[in-house]
Symmetry: C2
Subunit: 227 residues, 2 copies
Amino acid sequence: MIQLRQLCRDFLVGDQTVHALDHLDLSIDKGEYLSVMGPSGSGKSTLLNMLGLLDKPSAGEYLLNGTATSGLKEEQRASLRGGHIGFVFQSYHLIPRLNARENIELPLVLAGIAPKLRQPRVAELLARLDLIDRAEHIPNQLSGGQRQRVAIGRAIVMEPDLLLADEPTGNLDSKSGLEVITLLEELNAGGITLLVVTHDENVGARARRRLHMIDGAISRDWQTDSA
Amino acid sequence: MIQLRQLCRDFLVGDQTVHALDHLDLSIDKGEYLSVMGPSGSGKSTLLNMLGLLDKPSAGEYLLNGTATSGLKEEQRASLRGGHIGFVFQSYHLIPRLNARENIELPLVLAGIAPKLRQPRVAELLARLDLIDRAEHIPNQLSGGQRQRVAIGRAIVMEPDLLLADEPTGNLDSKSGLEVITLLEELNAGGITLLVVTHDENVGARARRRLHMIDGAISRDWQTDSA
Ligand SMILES: Nc1ncnc2c1ncn2[C@@H]1O[C@H](COP(=O)(O)OP(=O)(O)OP(=O)(O)O)[C@@H](O)[C@H]1O
Ligand SMILES: Nc1ncnc2c1ncn2[C@@H]1O[C@H](COP(=O)(O)OP(=O)(O)OP(=O)(O)O)[C@@H](O)[C@H]1O
Ligand SMILES: [Mg+2]
Ligand SMILES: [Mg+2]
């Protein structure tokens, strides 16, 4: 489903070049469940932004279902992102003037789905994410972990083919964190390809396949015996 | 040093009232080292905002060094915050147009401290926080964990009497997280009163005194045998 070949992403800051991704190779099949761990600054978010078509490589290639993404126009990238890729951002990026329910519902609205069809799906997610009592709160009326759960809801409401979660439990207590990971794993069991970036070894160890990154490259790539 | 008496903080959202802090009592002596844990939404950030004079109670009293803070004017509150209280925010609140060095330096600049005196202090912190290579990056050119470390640097650069850290290691790998907690504990060993809100049991267990919060109140308050 996904092939990254000698992928590079450089950032220029003043006269310094940061090699955020450094000749990275990676293959991911449909339906896989991977975790990605590594030191702060090792390139995990940059890798996820690349996979999510939010960023473009400086060199190398990203093939998505056999298509070379470098050849795609911006509308094609946007259409792939909107319809097929769900992204939980490390810093959430919620819409400040929309409440929890509206933030979660937004991808469905943008996809033109009718209110009657949206409502039950959003209600189910609000319940699963323990947000029913906070559905009408806007982001600055929510705790850090509540905002994180809204970001997760928005990423999964369209049941995307590919779900990219950047540290989805970092602001959650262990019980809420477990509920979230369980929910993401259910989606994976239903066929969604799942990548979870995390700093939590307990979370990382649950994946069937694990990656470690150092300095913009994959230093280890192994299968676990997780079910 | 700190006394909270029957402290309440209510938020009104539509016709619903959220009791974010619910008749909370707490005494903290100078130089103590406490950790605060509890479920997402239990009131930890609200408690810290109260202690940091960023928010006011709906009822009850907060006595700081014997002074009733409810009687203070806004300039007195701002002066206490600027001079005596360091705050690591759960969502960092960095200044977008200032780079890492400038964000860390900002409290010293606001305090009127001369460049010659600022420079060595900031350089030392950049080194301790492993940010020397990123000193000229602005926040959107930094990883999540790098931003978190800048927020920590800014909170401690004035060596405040009271240091309030809201989930300071949530976006850090275990090695960077340990470096940060060690740095905060050194400041506490030097006399600074330290409160750390965390979801990480390993971090919470290091404090000499631990609080658990549930539904806006302190459910457990105990001394550990941490050195
Ligand atoms: N827009 C940018 N401009 C310059 N440098 C950048 C930019 N974005 C990221 N970087 C740098 O690239 C490196 C990788 O960043 P990335 O955000 O991918 O790290 P990460 O592994 O997600 O870290 P963390 O665990 O702290 O979130 C970092 O050293 C960062 O400073
Ligand atoms: N400005 C506000 N308006 C309305 N409700 C609020 C506001 N700020 C916080 N709350 C509510 O008060 C409760 C406590 O929030 P707080 O941010 O203190 O929780 P927390 O313990 O820090 O949670 P987390 O671990 O998720 O960061 C939450 O249920 C939240 O929804
Ligand atoms: Mg990151
Ligand atoms: Mg909080």
